[in-house]
Amino acid sequence: MLTSKLKYIFTRLLECLVSLVFLSFIIFSLLYLAPGDPAKSLVGVKHATPELLAKIHAQYHLDDPFLSQYGRWVKNALSLDFGNSIKAGYPVVDYVAPHAAITFELVGLTLLLSVIIGVWLGVVSARNKGKILDKAIDLSSLAGTSMPGFALGLVLLYVFSYQLGIFPMYGIGDKSNPLDVLWHLTLPAITLTIGDAAMLIKITRSAMLKEVSGDYTVFMRARALPTSKIIRAQLKNASPPILTSTGLFLASLFGANVLVENVFSIPGLGQLLTSSVTFGDVPVVQFIALMLAVLICLTSALVDILVYLLNPNTHQLSQSTKI
């Protein structure tokens, strides 16, 4: 039993690695997908003298065969060396790190709020199926899913920052003070949360409905078990779709926050990514893309492993013979 568990975890992580190799290849090719000489992209906006181009060619080994360039790039990437940012002129990792920290904080906060609110309201809604409370939650989650994030952000900004003055207008405040940063990130996080939480409400509700009307629920109630215990059992049984979609939300959040970061003028990854694409800062774009790819691949593998471990039945599927 233990070995079949380990085998599954190993296989799933291997799959993750295979897709990362594939993705890294595409990400590396970004440099060549831009029209013209890649050396020119690497020069950036400086005047491209023949001497400079030759220097760049030598520095980046641009005359080597494509595959050996890829191999060198991967090897460097493993030691977190992605070269220098064209725009900033210093190592990519140092350049991106502070932006990434802000975005991770924002995404983490959003995910936490979405899961707490989405799962909680989804459970309440399913347990009160057909009642007014259920209908109210259902209606507001419909509104939440259909509201575009950037528009909602503007509304919240106008009401809470401009009219009421509760939250700051823009930026992330004093970086050395975590509470101040949190205060600045609250409104953007709420903006992102509303859409995701609304979707999680719907997913949790439909997964829970099956459990709420299930026989084991009736049997647990018939034995007068505490409600908290019943909800825990139902939630555990309903968890696979909830966990899977939470994993997917994490991936989509990195896309969704580009607009929201712009609305709230937050110097996060989204802003950095847009400006780097416009500027043609290929090493930066490559690093951000690879970082997100690793993050998303690992999350989805972890979600799958978690779902697998939760269900004792799947561990033994290979061993049971059906007649």
């Binding site: 018939a222 034995r223 007068a224 215990k229 004792p312 013979t321 007649i323």
Partner: protein, 507 residues
């Protein structure tokens, strides 16, 4: 223990969105008797007992006077108030052992969950398991690792852990095969006398209620239409509903058997079939023969190999050795236990049947013929599968199977999911088809009583072997094999267990 519970309910009514489901029920328990509540599905028997425990669906509105031990109790009490009644006063075992337990929690922990807090530290799970005839190591297993019978024993143990003073068994054995059914009922009997508590058995099987209960209540359409001592109710029924239930019961009827056609024109012959799945032998030297316009029954418990045999006969599974010869011109069709999953819910019945005709290259005007043969009411044609009852769906499945004009129809537990009255109607239709269309039928079931009504010849299977075969009359009246005798006794619900305990030590 002498703290007998008294329960009294007067003028119990339950309404769901305007429809009255229970129409004024008076009911009383004040001795340690066993009461059978019988009725067709939809007669309101489950609603009635669930309203005594506050387990009605959200939309249901109950009313009436309810007293437990002489104390008034509100039928629309809050969840919190009901907790005083559930478990400690009334315990319930529900129908389907496959879904009654939390699939993600070990059995021991689930039993322990219901034990009152004060007694939890001194509660011994292994002796609780022993009481229901299970080994101690079941505590560490998940429900999916147990058989249906074992799971139902865990459910009973979990229901007893709350130390109820009244036990309700709601169709607690319907989903199990006959031998396991009998064992579970015997267990419930033993527990009832050991704990000295009253018992309510809810069932659509009046024969079961007769052999297991002191008193029978017959329900029909939300009312109690007849009640009295079991013997009186079953031997001198007065209400129409009681008579229908008794008529539906094939073992309470003197019956004539379908004609056996052995030695006639052979349609299908299987010789020395063997099939293994890993270390398990599913078929061992099985020989089966089906003649034209004959109904042959194959009976056995789950795991006896009967479904594997059906799959080998139709070529869905390849046997390891042996051969299957089919002498018919047309095809073999199968009708499954639950046609719901095989009927596309997005299409109307007409579309589904026309599609089947098209697929088998038959003209569409044969639709009239197949629906009249399968007795599908015309007005169902424009409806979709979800709005049909189980019996109606099964008729649609039969009509669809008739589309390619098969020579042989294989029915794999085709009526097992239906209540007895509907079962009989479907069986009559099949028998008529056999006569009118010269259709051969191979009927696979765990329920011998079904075969008594329809089969001319019977094969009895156990652990992959055909242990006995012959005409239905001979099998039912002069079985020679011990296993066959046990099956017959179990389906007839003989009152005391004889051979059964020794025959299936695995449960």
């Amino acid at each position: 223990m002498s703290n007998t519970i008294t329960i009294e309910v007067n003028n119990l009514r339950v309404k769901i969105s305007g429809n009255e489901i229970l129409k004024g029920i008076d009911f009383k328990i004040n001795t340690n008797e066993s009461i059978g509540i019988v009725g067709e599905s939809g007669s309101g028997k489950t609603m009635m007992v669930r309203s005594l425990m506050g387990l009605l669906p959200n939309a249901a509105k109950p009313s009436g006077n309810y007293k437990i031990d002489g104390q008034r109790f509100k039928l629309n009490a809050s969840e919190k108030q009901w907790k005083r009644v559930r478990g400690s006063s009334i315990g319930m075992v529900i129908q389907d052992p496959f879904t009654a337990l939390d699939p993600l929690k070990k059995c021991g922990a689930q039993i322990l969950d219901g034990v009152p807090k004060a007694k939890r530290s001194s509660f011994d799970v292994s002796s609780a398991l022993k009481e229901v005839g299970l080994p101690a190591d079941v505590a560490g297993r998940y429900p999916f690792e147990l058989s249906g019978g074992q799971r139902q024993r865990v459910v009973i143990s979990a229901a007893l852990a709350t130390q109820p003073r009244l036990l309700i068994a709601d169709e607690a054995t319907t989903a199990l095969d006959v031998i396991t059914q009998k064992e579970i009922l015997d267990l419930i009997d033993t527990i009832r006398s050991a704990h000295g508590m009253p018992l309510i058995i809810i069932t659509h099987n009046i024969r079961l209620a007769k052999t297991r209960c002191d008193r029978i209540l017959v329900m029909d359409n939300g009312r109690i239409v007849e009640q009295g001592a079991s013997k009186n109710v079953t031997e001198a029924p007065e209400a129409e509903a009681t008579k229908t239930l008794i008529e539906a019961d094939r073992f309470l009827q003197a019956s004539s058997y379908a004609e056996a056609n052995s030695g006639g024109d052979v349609l299908l012959r299987a010789v020395d079939l063997n099939k293994r799945f890993g270390s398990i032998a599913a078929l061992i030297n099985v020989n089966v023969e089906v003649c034209r316009s004959e109904c042959v029954g194959i009976v056995g418990q789950s795991g006896s190999g009967k479904t594997t045999l059906a799959r080998c006969l139709t070529g869905l599974t390849k046997a390891d050795s042996g051969e299957v010869k089919f002498f018919g011109k047309n095809s073999i069709q199968i009708v499954f236990q639950d046609p719901y999953s095989s009927l596309n819910p997005a299409h109307t019945i007409q579309f589904i049947l026309e599609e089947a005709l098209k697929a088998s290259g038959r003209p569409l005007d044969e639709l009239e013929e197949i629906i009249s043969l399968a007795e599908v009411p015309r007005e169902l044609l424009s409806r979709r599968p979800a709005s049909l009852s189980g019996g109606q769906r099964q008729r649609v499945a039969i009509a669809r199977a008739l589309a390619p004009r098969p020579d042989l129809l294989i029915c794999d537990e085709s009526v097992s999911a239906l209540d007895v009255v509907v079962q009989n109607q479907i069986l009559k239709t099949l028998d008529k088809l056999r006569h009118e269309r010269k259709l051969a039928i191979l009927f696979i079931t765990h329920d011998l009583s079904v075969l008594r009504m329809i089969a001319g010849r019977v094969y009895v299977m156990n652990h992959g072997r055909v242990v006995e075969s012959g005409t239905a009359q001979r099998i039912f009246e002069a079985a020679t094999d011990e296993y066959t005798k046990a099956l017959i006794e179990a389906s007839a619900f003989g009152s005391k267990p004889h051979v059964l305990g020794e025959l299936s030590p695995s449960i």
